[in-house]
């Protein structure tokens, strides 16, 4: 039963990994651009949830939507003022832009919120739930389930709607998309909004179930790299599978090897993957 608990707990956390990683893979797939600040977006989503709960109160729906909205706006602003310009620049500008942004956001968070761990006060999702002998916090179950639904919704948006077709068209060929009456700039801004928004709401979901500090952004950023590498660069569905697998591996290695090693195992897998199958576990060769 303890093992079942580890497995289910890992899958639930993995579902949230899948949600924020799908944001990273969206940007990678669309513009061949890696966002080093993605983990910081997740971290900011957590603090937005905290600020909303402390400031105006409200349930998970309120702070979840607030985190998604705030980060969507931040993503669009960052695209407009930074990414749009460095996309045409040299490689060093592309990598350094979001790397610098990650530092800026991380240490600004240290500055404002201090390095102490915090958790959401007066959580509406308290208590534990009994899933046929497995006892799990309600918050984890809700957060994980919502994350799966949202990831599937994102996949639906990308593959079955007009907006999804427009995103795909711009990813394929911005110039040809322009001729079809699509404005690549707006679509790419939308992609950044969706990407950061997914990270923000994933952060809000994480905040309901786990305590955190400003340094979690670094860990989540690296986990997002690993998930994207496993799932294939640019594939949301791949991210979903890979996120669940990574969550599972992390929970298992944390349980059997010790908590310190749960990240070590995941990073080591990433390095091994880059060696053996750099196009991603499920990516096309």
């Amino acid at each position: 039963m303890v093992i079942m608990q580890v497995i289910v707990g890992g899958l639930l956390l993995g579902a949230i990994y899948a949600l924020f990683s799908s944001g990273l893979t969206l940007i990678w797939g669309m513009m061949n651009f890696i966002n080093f600040a993605h983990g910081e977006f997740v971290m900011l989503g957590m603090y937005v949830a905290l600020l909303v709960v402390v400031g105006i109160g409200g349930g998970p729906a309120v702070f979840g939507i607030a985190a998604a909205g705030a980060l969507f706006a931040l993503g669009v602003v960052i695209y407009a003022f930074l990414i749009r310009h460095v996309l045409r620049g040299p490689m060093i500008a592309q990598i350094l832009s979001t790397f610098g942004l990650a530092l800026l956001l991380r240490y600004a968070a240290f500055w404002f919120f201090s390095a102490n761990f915090v958790s959401l006060p007066g959580n509406a999702l308290s208590g534990t739930i009994d899933l046929g002998g497995i006892f799990l916090p309600v918050a984890q179950v809700v957060a994980g389930s919502v994350a799966i639904v949202l990831t599937l919704l994102l996949q639906f948006l990308l593959t079955r709607t007009l907006i999804g077709s427009m995103l795909l068209a711009v990813a394929e060929d911005p110039d040809a998309a322009t001729l079809m009456g699509i404005r690549p700039d707006r679509i790419q801004a939308l992609a950044w909004g969706l990407s950061a928004g997914a990270a923000g709401i994933a952060g809000a979901l994480l905040a309901t179930a786990y305590p955190w500090s400003p340094s979690v952004g670094e860990t989540f950023g690296l986990i997002a790299f690993v998930v994207v590498a496993f799932g294939g660069f640019g594939s949301v569905l791949g991210s979903l599978y890979a996120g669940l697998i990574i969550g599972l591996i992390q929970a298992a290695s944390g349980f059997w090897l010790g908590v310190i090693y749960k990240d070590v195992v995941v990073y080591a897998l990433f390095v091994a993957l880059l060696w053996l199958r750099p196009q991603g576990l499920m990516g096309k060769a």
Partner: protein, 326 residues
């Protein structure tokens, strides 16, 4: 060929200035800034070889710095060997690690290399922080008092300053030498367009690998210099992400891919950093890194070539004006 025409006077002045600096400013505080400046310039110049010249942006160079710092003190702790034995072993370990990372990732687009470097550096930092053999979270301590000169443990800042200056001279001389040789043309061709370079017969993968190996070796030496100077290293000061950040920002601010860019970057940033740390006390370090992040973003957005490119552009504009009036 402006290279041959322009710098001799500037270079001579720079060299004389650097040699005389600790004699003119004998105060320990200023000498310490001088040593910190030289170390930052060495590390950033080492990063510059692969990050600037070859255009492969490593954001995890702390792994080589950390190996260079840990190996000499580890050998001292275990067997009491002087750092001069540990330093070359550190270089060899760094070369091996560079090969392991470079082999798979340098064949792919530059993003993979960046992601791999940050992941490996973080992996090593966590492992070192839990491994008792290398001091775990506490770190390792070098000789408190040198047994002889070969322990490289001095009371005065002066010997460190001149050792660091010589190493900086070597790094710059090596960089200047390859700049005008085949290897220099290869890396510039790769940076300008990898596919085009490949089609013209440039051994792209091997050239990038050579740049990484050279860079890793010098970064390892920088780490060793750091540890003989401070006599102590822990996971944060050896393998921390901020060690990598400092190399990137110093090189990028001055001008990545230029010979004197890292020097210029260190000349601006190190006094700035010392000043902010002094004004704001111990709590200032967080603010320092907010500013660092901001500077990196601004460079990427407005001046990816760094200050040296800005300088050249301003200079050109001025010349044009002179031409027009003449």
């Amino acid at each position: 060929m402006k290279k041959l025409a322009a710098p001799p006077l500037g270079l001579t002045l720079l060299a004389v200035g650097l040699v005389l600096y600790p004699l003119l400013f004998s105060d320990a505080f200023y000498r310490d800034i001088g040593v910190t400046f030289l170390l930052a310039a060495i590390a950033a110049s080492a990063w510059n070889i692969v990050g600037g010249y070859a255009g492969q942006i490593s954001v995890g160079h702390s792994m080589f710095f950390g190996i260079g710092a840990y190996t000499p003190v580890l050998f001292y702790t275990l067997w009491g060997w002087p750092p001069l034995v540990g330093i070359p072993v550190g270089i060899l370990l760094s070369l091996a690690l560079a090969a392991v990372i470079g082999l798979p990732t340098l064949r792919l687009s530059g993003h993979y290399f960046s992601m791999a470097t940050i992941a490996v550096a973080e992996l090593i930092r966590i492992l070192v922080g839990t491994w008792n053999f290398v001091g775990a979270a506490i770190g390792l301590q070098g000789p408190a008092r040198g047994r002889a000169w070969w322990d490289l443990t001095f009371r005065s800042e002066l010997p460190y300053y001149y050792i660091f200056l010589v190493v900086l001279g070597i790094v710059l001389a090596v960089t200047a030498t390859f700049e005008s040789r085949r290897f220099g043309y290869y890396v510039r061709a790769i940076k300008a367009g990898e596919r085009a370079a490949k089609s013209l017969g440039v051994p792209v993968h091997w050239t990038k690998m050579q740049a990484l190996l050279l860079s890793a070796a010098f970064t390892s030496i920088a780490g060793s210099l750091y540890v003989v100077k401070t006599g102590f290293v822990d996971p944060g000061s050896g393998f921390g992400i901020l060690v990598s950040v400092q190399m990137v920002i110093v090189a990028a601010l001055g001008g990545a891919g230029t010979l004197y860019g890292p020097l210029l970057g260190a000349l601006i940033l190190i006094p700035l950093q010392t000043a902010t740390n002094n004004w704001l006390g111990g709590g200032g370090s967080g603010l320092t890194f907010i500013i660092y992040g901001g500077i990196i973003v601004l460079i990427a957005r407005f001046e990816p070539g760094g200050l040296s490119e800005l300088w050249h552009r301003l200079l050109r504009k001025r010349w044009k004006r002179v031409d027009a009036t003449a």
